[in-house]
Amino acid sequence: MYKFVMPEVIFGSGSIYQAGECCKRLGARHVLVVTDRGVMDAGWTDPVLESCRKAGLAATLFHEVSVNPTDVEAAACAETYKESGCDAIIAVGGGSAIDSGKAAAALVANGGHIRDYEGVDRILSPLPPLVMVPTTAGSGSEVSQFSVIVDSVRQKKMTIVSKSLVPDIAVIDPDVLATKSARLTATTGLDVITHAIESFVSIAATPMTDVQAKNALALAARFLRPSVASKYNKEAKEKMAMASLQAGLAFSNAILGAAHAMSHTIGGRFPFLHGDINAVLLPHVMEFNLIACPEKFREVALLMGENVTRLSDREAGEKAIQSVKKLAVDIGAPLTLAEMGFHASAIPEISEIALTDACMITNPRDISAAEVAALLTRALA
């Protein structure tokens, strides 16, 4: 028995202009548009505000969202929502804006502090209508039941898991990816690949998530390089948008693994890009996990376009790892934690905390704090 949850999805070029109408259909009158400076500067907030105006909806803008959104920001966002008398939320942006929007929604409907909802199924009251417009093709948050928020006191990323966090409508417009810098495209693209691989080998994977994960991996492996290479490769952008969506659907339902568990922990401590951390950790985690499900890793290699004929599952798996590493090199992603500014002294603590992350649960190979520490040490340089 398994379950597959996903929001309504609108996909396609120009769909961003549907955002307002989507909200209206959900009964909204006054929308809180949650976004960040970068997205505003890139000009993607305007079409959303415009679509609201056209749909006859009042709109209030909230843009105080940082790279790793904090509880304080989420609370401020919820406060703005209440003060302005909003009744729906549109989040435009990357994972940060979307997770902030979700957290704010949880707060306005349930009150309290976002910390109260950390963990699984802690949200008790339904959330206001949520329409998500992802602009980064990476986080998958627009379709997931997760919201990751930094606890500013504990300096830790809290993972909030609830079916109620699954947005009502995800509006995916590949056109918005055109403004992304190569650097950002690379890092979010690597996040997509991490999502696809981790959810595919997850012990909670189902045939429904496998379809999504495999498709996502195949698309990303093929189109990430061209997408990073050119802002104007519309096809590559569209494929990456689809890859991100499908990877999102996969991991939202099959959950992730050790790479994300560690990445969440490091992200709570250091201002690194989520995709970068994943990119560095993924090969090491794959190596560690290889013995748990070599046949799955064989498929990963295959999906990434490797020739695995006459190779054992294990050898094929190793090829997959190489393939990921190569991809990272090709698109200029960081290769070690050290080069990002991570310090070895943080390892023991990070290892402890990472073990408690929800993503660790579905990792295909059981893992101890020492093993996490060993992985981190290997990823360090």
Binding site: M1, D121, S125, K163, V166, I203, A254, A358, I361
Partner: protein
């Protein structure tokens, strides 16, 4: 939690995205419940009235609550005379601790709630060791929810809700019951105050009713509004005082608004009657008619006067008799001497002088007897003997008048301490009076003479079927010189002398009479006390 369980939770077949429909339903449900609660509160409070018993209040509450809460028992503990005591319980059959049981022990849940002022939801457990545990278990309760009752800032008791099923509740329920207990406390307090007032009022009412004098409250026309027990006994059916009281004084009191008094006689009784105007805020609202029966008192007063009169007359008579005795002896002696020398012409005149002289002597002797100037000695003697003596003296006269004498003397009659001559004088007087009363009557004339005794007295009844005595004369016949007879027959001294003798013997002489039917005189003398 193990890993498969965690995964299950994460991917969650059991959990779903919450939606507003359920939320709305919940809200509406809560609103409806709230409305029902308000309705209940309203119904309960309106159905209460101050003179309702607490038992009825509990019953009403439980029945009204039924539509929302299945409460199996409502109980009350109240602070009374310095202790928290078990009070009413509804339904009554669901009580274990008797009414009045003191809940002071430290492990009493009721007492805990009473002293903390905080409600307490207790789920009954097997090993519970509270004061009430045995009761709860015996009655099969699963949950007991206790609320403090506070009225005017004071905790006055504890309201208990008990259920045989486990009671699950929300914060809303708590505030509802909290509110309910508050209202309840106020109602109980009101009822208590009301009963207190009622009690003191009923105390007044019973005082009013118990006053031995008659009290009637009337309106300004004399229509009776209320009467106390004594008045109700004398005038049970009268609608207005005008049927038994002359209204003059009443009207005077109404006009002057000042109390008025009068003495009235109603049905052979004498009353001191007072009319007290009833003023409310300076306005005359009615009249209190206060009737004090003074018949007895007046009778006693009359007797005192009477005996005073007798004494005075006695003294005077003794003097007069003494003074008259000597001249009368001279008159009688001379008349008798002259009679011997009388001629035919003078003889009748002298005989008349002698006759009148003798009559005077009789009167003087009676007067002397009356004034008890003659010394008398008392001995144990039989009243019967005195009667025989009297009959011997008067029998012939009775016969002459053809009066039938019916004599019924108790041979076992106890002795009395007295003077035989004096007692037979009483009997003579009574027989002669009886004879006189019969003389003018037509038909058969009868006189009954009867003696009897009880523990303390011996009685002589002399009854005749003669002319009888008018009611207004009954008092006067005992006065000296009162007579209705012609100068030849009556001196008016017989009864007054007799009553004097009776009293000197420690006895009484009384009369009952019906005009034209006859009279009965009764002499009562105390039985001789034997010192054994």
């Amino acid at each position: 939690m193990n890993r498969p369980e965690m995964i299950h939770l994460l991917t969650g077949v059991q959990s779903s995205k919450l939606n507003y429909y359920t939320e709305l339903k919940k809200t509406i449900g809560e609103l409806q419940k709230k409305n029902r609660q308000l309705e209940i509160m309203n119904t309960i409070m309106h159905s209460f009235n101050v003179n309702m018993s607490i038992q009825d209040m509990l019953k009403q509450t439980q029945e009204t609550l039924q539509s929302v809460y299945k409460i199996d028992r409502l109980s009350l503990a109240m602070w009374e005379d310095g202790a928290l005591k078990m009070a009413d319980v509804y339904p009554e059959k669901a009580s274990f601790l008797r009414k009045g049981t003191v809940l002071s022990s430290e492990n009493s849940l009721y007492a805990r709630v009473f002293s903390s002022g905080q409600d307490l939801l207790h789920s009954v457990q097997k090993g519970d060791d509270f004061f009430e545990s045995e009761a709860f278990q015996a009655l099969g309760f699963q949950s007991v929810w206790l609320f403090p009752l506070s009225s005017r800032g004071m905790i006055t008791g504890v309201l208990g809700l008990a259920t045989r099923e486990i009671f699950s509740f929300s914060e809303e329920d708590r505030s509802f019951f909290d509110h309910l207990s508050g209202q309840f406390a106020v109602c109980i307090e009101n009822a208590r105050l009301y009963h207190e007032v009622l009690l003191s009022e009923s105390r007044w009412a019973s005082t009013f009713r118990a006053v031995p004098d008659s009290i009637l409250v009337t309106d300004l026309d004399g229509t009776i509004l209320t009467r106390n027990d004594s008045a109700a006994q004398s005038w049970p059916f009268e609608q207005t005082i005008c049927t038994f009281l002359k209204p003059d004084r009443f009207h005077e009191a109404v006009q002057t608004e000042l109390p008025c008094f009068e003495e009235v006689s109603i049905q052979n009784k004498v009353y001191e009657c007072a009319y007290y105007p009833m003023l409310e805020d300076g306005e005359l609202k009615g009249m209190i008619v206060y009737l004090k029966n003074i018949t007895e008192k007046q009778f006693m007063q009359a007797q005192i006067i009477h005996s005073g009169q007798l004494a005075a007359i006695g003294e005077m008579a003794a003097g007069v008799a003494h003074e008259l005795n000597n001249p009368l002896t001279a008159i009688l002696g001379n008349a008798q001497l002259l009679l011997r020398l009388a001629t035919n012409e003078t003889k009748p005149l002298l005989e008349d002088i002698e006759e009148c002289g003798k009559r005077c002597r009789t009167i003087i002797r009676s007067l002397l007897a009356f004034s008890r100037q003659e010394p008398s000695s008392f001995h144990p003697c039989s009243l019967n003997d005195a009667i025989y003596e009297a009959l011997r003296l008067t029998g012939r006269q009775m016969e002459k008048q053809r009066i039938q004498l019916l004599i019924e003397l108790n041979e076992q009659l106890p002795l009395v301490n007295g003077n035989l001559q004096q007692l037979s004088q009483i009997a003579v007087n009574l027989f002669i009076n009886a004879k006189d009363a019969c003389s003018e009557m037509q038909g058969e004339k009868r006189v009954w003479v009867k003696t009897e005794a009880d523990q303390h007295f011996v009685y002589l009844h002399v009854q005749d079927n003669g002319c009888g005595i008018d009611a207004d004369k009954l008092d006067e016949i005992f006065h000296p010189f009162f007579t209705t007879k012609s100068a030849h027959n009556g001196t008016g001294l017989g009864l007054s002398v007799s009553i004097g003798i009776a009293e000197s013997h420690g006895g009484t002489l009384t009369v009952k009479s019906q005009p034209q039917k006859g009279s009965t005189f009764t002499l009562a003398l105390p039985v001789l006390e034997r010192t054994e």
